[in-house]
């Protein structure tokens, strides 16, 4: 995976694409292949928390803007969001709140996304912030809202799951009605965590929170279950963007919150390719593990093999090839 630092945003992108062409060997055909690369933006702000421990709302909004502008190559944040949504869309934000207040999708990130979505023309009542369970949302600090012309926020426990199964490969599950009935477009807002069974849990595995039976899909490091789940048409066609909240991340001991194994990464990862995003996040966790003197996940026999499965010829959900990931670090 190539990384870019310093210089202007447009310079990053130019260098990134040029570098990809060189790595692929050049030539017209290779240039086309390079054009098909998956972009992942990793945006940092070391001052995200100011002098305190809480995330500053305005700095978070600015970080989201920088990440989105870089990803969509736009000079104005709303232009970036308008590449994604239009008035009349119903947009749902799938957060991850299993880790409680310790390590869940930050409210400040969700607020920033909701603000920009509304400014891009999406009605507040057409936005749903959701996860599996309302209690978990509340424990993570979200306030439930289920009516009126405001952003909605509740768990699937309030609406239930579809009666009919959705099936692909090893997976047969009932999908949340929030996804099937309240969502034109899904924005995935996972966190960046170690996972004792799966290796890591980032964007792809966050979809375990949209089905009724995630407990059935943890054997064998969640492989091929994670990939098969993301193949379900309702997920594959509706998930348009992933913004991984890596403001706080966890390199060991997950998925439950372990403060001793967490660090303030102060970053967001943005991509439309959840496989590339997961691969990038996995490498961040590996770097932190190395820094802490821990073995690699592979050495612990829990490397996230589902990421490669998601990229294989059967699934083609994205790429896990470093040479095909255009990484933009801000």
């Amino acid at each position: 995976m190539r990384t870019q630092r310093n210089g202007s945003r447009r310079d990053f992108l130019k260098r990134s694409l040029a570098g990809a062409a060189l790595l692929c060997g050049g030539g017209a055909a290779e240039a086309l292949a390079a054009g098909a690369q998956s972009r992942v933006v990793v945006a940092h702000d070391t001052q995200l928390r100011g002098t305190g421990s809480a995330i500053d709302d305005q700095r978070m909004l600015a970080l989201v803007d920088r990440a989105m502008q870089a990803f969509f190559d736009r000079d104005h944040p709303l232009d970036a969001w308008r590449k994604l949504v239009r008035p009349g869309d119903t947009v749902s934000l799938k957060v991850n709140t299993l880790g409680g207040r310790g390590i869940s999708t930050n409210i400040q990130l969700v607020a920033a996304v909701c603000e920009r979505l509304q400014q891009a023309g999406v009605k507040p009542g057409d936005i749903v912030v959701w996860d599996r369970d309302s209690d978990e949302l509340e424990r993570a600090g979200f306030h439930l809202a289920t009516g009126g012309n405001c952003v909605q926020c509740y768990g699937t426990d309030r609406t239930g799951y579809e009666e009919e199964l959705s099936a692909y490969g090893s997976v047969g599950s009932r999908l949340s009605k929030i996804l099937t009935q309240r969502t034109d477009m899904l924005i995935n807002l996972p966190v960046l965590k170690d996972h004792d069974g799966a290796g890591v849990t980032i964007a792809l595995k966050n979809m375990y929170g949209v089905i009724h039976n995630p407990n059935k899909y943890h054997p064998n490091g969640c492989d091929p279950f994670v990939a098969d789940l993301n193949m379900l048409p309702e997920i594959r066609t509706k998930m348009r963007l992933s913004i991984c909240d890596a403001t706080m991340a966890m390199y060991e001991g997950g998925p439950g919150y372990k403060p001793q194994h967490s660090w303030n990464a102060n970053a967001l990862l943005v991509s439309t390719d959840p496989v590339a995003l997961d691969f990038t996040g996995w490498q961040m966790i590996e770097r932190k593990r190395a820094e802490k003197g821990l073995k690699t996940l592979a050495a612990e026999e829990r490397a996230p093999s589902y990421i490669a499965t998601a990229a294989d010829n059967e699934h083609r959900l994205g790429t896990n090839q470093p040479g095909r990931i255009s990484l933009v670090e801000l």
Binding site: T159, G160, R174, K177, D196, H212, N213, G256
Partner: protein, 372 residues
């Protein structure tokens, strides 16, 4: 998981009325579940607030705030809890023949209950809507053990049956309900996959009066691929239950192309005879497309008859064909004089001639529990 469709699947009138499910798309409040939560019996504490479940051979290692594979047991701060004690999501009055138990109180009724959850994920499950769900996803009613016994008595059922989903996963509730039933003179029977650890099996099913085991295949690969379980522990359970002196019957659901070879039928019959004895009833039942195997056809009756012929030839005395109403192999025949002793029509025992545990024609002992 019950191989035969039971009350929940067939839409029988529920005795315990569950609360109405929330309307589609309309957020509603949900009630707490504290009264269903009881510390689990079968687990070990581990470092870092993890636990290892010792209920079934899966041995899930579960972190804090997580659940095991069954979805009904949760680690809360390093203590493991069942979430389904007294959380009855299905309750029906069924003929005991529907379990099926053919040699246990024929013609009687069983007060049949289930909670959500299962420790395997059979691709052919007929009750997947409850077995493959988490408890909070299924309407249920608080029905503590004594209430279960009261309802059984109220509906003139000499037995409580734990069935429909997989009773292994509500072992604590099953044990307490069996105790309450026995205090009230009500027996307990269980319909189970037998995929359990030996200690849990002995403790939980030690309280049962009869046990039907779904032996889903005689192949480890089938168990791995179709059931998401293992064969060996199930065979061990059968041997242990037999040694414990429990009345057991075996159901083998026959799936076209997947577990219907002569070799599998023969291997199964030989194993049953050698390890459990020729008198243990073996039911070959017809598969109907369900859940994740809707692409397979219904099992041809000829296949079931072939299975029975092979098992008969291997020397088993009581081999039945199930899920085929009106088939003569639903009846019980004396293995010595071949006369019909119990005639069954559907799930009803229409004629029962066995007297004092013997064939009335030739006095051959007929194993089973024939009278209350």
């Amino acid at each position: 998981m019950c191989a035969l469709a039971s009350g929940a699947a067939l839409g029988m009138t529920s005795v315990v009325q569950p609360p109405t499910a929330s309307a589609s798309g309309v957020p509603t409040e949900t009630s707490g579940d504290a009264r269903f939560v009881v510390e689990a019996k079968f687990y070990e504490k581990q470092p870092n607030r993890k636990i290892k479940c010792k209920l079934c051979p899966r041995e899930c290692v579960v972190g804090d705030k997580e659940r095991g594979y069954c979805g009904v047991r949760e680690n809360r701060g390093g203590t493991y809890y069942t979430l389904v004690h007294s959380r009855v999501c299905a309750a029906h009055v069924d003929p005991v023949e529907k379990k099926p138990l053919f040699h246990y109180l024929p013609g009687s009724l069983a007060f049949s209950i289930a909670t959500a959850g299962c420790n395997v994920n059979c691709k052919f499950c007929q009750n997947w809507d409850i077995s493959q769900s988490r408890p909070e996803q299924i309407p249920a009613q608080y029905t503590p053990p004594r209430r279960v016994a009261e309802l059984a008595r109220q509906y003139s059922c000499p037995t409580i049956a734990y069935t429909y989903s997989e009773p292994v996963i509500f072992a604590e509730f099953l044990m307490d309900a069996a105790d309450a039933g026995h205090e009230a003179g009500i027996r307990s029977i269980v319909v189970s996959n037998g995929f359990m650890q030996q200690d849990a099996l002995k403790m939980a099913y030690g309280k049962m009066d009869a046990i039907k085991i779904d032996l889903k295949s005689f192949s480890e690969s089938y168990y791995r691929q179709v059931v998401t379980g293992q064969l060996k522990p199930v065979l061990e359970s059968l041997v242990t239950l037999r040694k414990m002196g429990k009345w057991i019957e075996i159901v083998f659901l026959v799936l076209p192309t997947l577990n219907d070879s002569d070799a599998e039928f023969r291997g199964l019959a030989q194993w049953v005879k050698a390890n459990l004895g020729a008198d243990v009833p073996l039911h070959f039942t017809q598969f109907h497309p369900e859940y994740l195997l809707k692409n397979l056809p219904i099992t041809p009756v000829l296949t079931l008859e072939r299975a029975k012929a092979i098992a008969d030839a291997e020397g088993l005395h009581y081999v039945y064909i199930g899920n085929v109403p009106g088939h003569p192999s639903q009846n019980t025949y004396c293995p010595k004089c071949r006369k019909m002793l119990v005639e069954r029509v559907g799930f009803t025992a229409s004629e029962m001639l066995i007297k004092n545990g013997r064939c009335p024609f030739c006095q051959q002992p007929i194993p089973g529990v024939w009278h209350v």
